[in-house]
Amino acid sequence: MTHDEDGAGRYVLHAIRSLPVPAPPADFARQMEILVQDLPEDAATEQWLLRIAAGAGLAFGVATVAPWLAASMTSLAVTLGPVPWRLLTVLAAGLTAFAVVDRFVLRHSLDTLK
């Protein structure tokens, strides 16, 4: 007879098996299902693969288009003739100045008025 087959051993097993154990709430499984559905999908790997694919596509596109673009720009320069760089520079500077005034000065004034 082993230690646990005697009366005391059997009573110990009876005590363990009669332990009161609180049951999980009746709707626990349903709530877990809802919780899992609401979780954002963990797609970190897929997102990285997508980024790598997008980068590779972009590099391939640039490599394909670059020779054609260079040739087109050369022919365009020939077609247009000499470019008025001074006029273009003044126009760009003017537009930048307007943008700065619109973005910072006018908005700051409006915020002060509020």
């Binding site: 230690h3 646990d4 005697d6 009366g7 005391a8 051993g9 059997r10 009573y11 110990v12 097993l13 009876h14 005590a15 363990i16 098996r17 009669s18 332990l19 009161p20 154990v21 609180p22 049951a23 999980p24 709430p25 626990f28 499984a29 349903r30 877990m32 299902e33 919780l35 899992v36 979780l39 963990d42």
Partner: protein, 186 residues
């Protein structure tokens, strides 16, 4: 095991109701284990939720090396153990096994009288609650969930000898509570 494969495939395939079925199948095991290791009803629900969220997140990594129940049990054990560690609660104590062994005796025990004694049963339950979390968990797995020593080894990641030792020490402590047969009749 085939049933496990079907269920896992259904959950991974996002079949409606599949995850609910999985939770219903293993919630008793998870609840038993977590509640016995962390006897704090306030945390039991949160920890059980965490267990099933992990199950859902890691299910694609399940390789069917064990039964699904054993795998879920391992996650539950790890979640409960981590909770105890975070709160700096001891998982086990260093009881002197020799002392417990020496207190074993071969005297008669009146099983019928003991079974009729409600107070004694209450005292035994209190003793079980007072056992270290690891011993409570192992007791639950072996006697309430009827897991084999081998399965408990997989769930806890502890060697077979350690599991047997924990079971023996837990039972020995409970036997100590029974006292002598004379005590039972007085």
């Amino acid at each position: 095991m085939t049933d496990d494969r079907l269920l896992v495939a259904a959950v991974l395939g996002q079949v409606p109701g599949a995850f609910r079925t999985l939770v219903e199948r293993f919630q008793k095991l998870v609840w038993h284990l977590v509640f016995r290791m962390v006897p704090d009803t306030e945390h039991t629900r949160d920890l059980c939720q965490e267990v099933f969220l992990r199950v859902h997140r890691q299910l694609h990594q399940f390789r069917f090396d064990s039964s699904l129940g054993t795998w879920v049990g391992r996650i539950a054990f790890n979640v409960a153990s981590r909770h105890l560690r975070r709160r700096a609660l001891p998982m086990d104590d260093e009881a002197d096994l020799t002392e417990i062994v020496l207190e074993r005796d071969g005297r008669e025990f009146d099983l019928a009288a003991a079974c009729a004694d409600a107070e004694l049963l209450k005292k035994m339950h209190a003793t079980i609650e007072g056992l270290p979390p690891l011993q409570r968990g192992v007791l639950v797995l072996h006697y309430l969930e009827e897991k084999s020593i081998c399965e408990i080894t997989e769930i806890t990641g502890m060697p077979e000898g350690t599991i047997k030792s924990h079971l023996f020490r837990a039972r020995a402590r409970l036997r100590q509570q029974l006292g002598t047969p004379e005590d039972l009749h007085t």
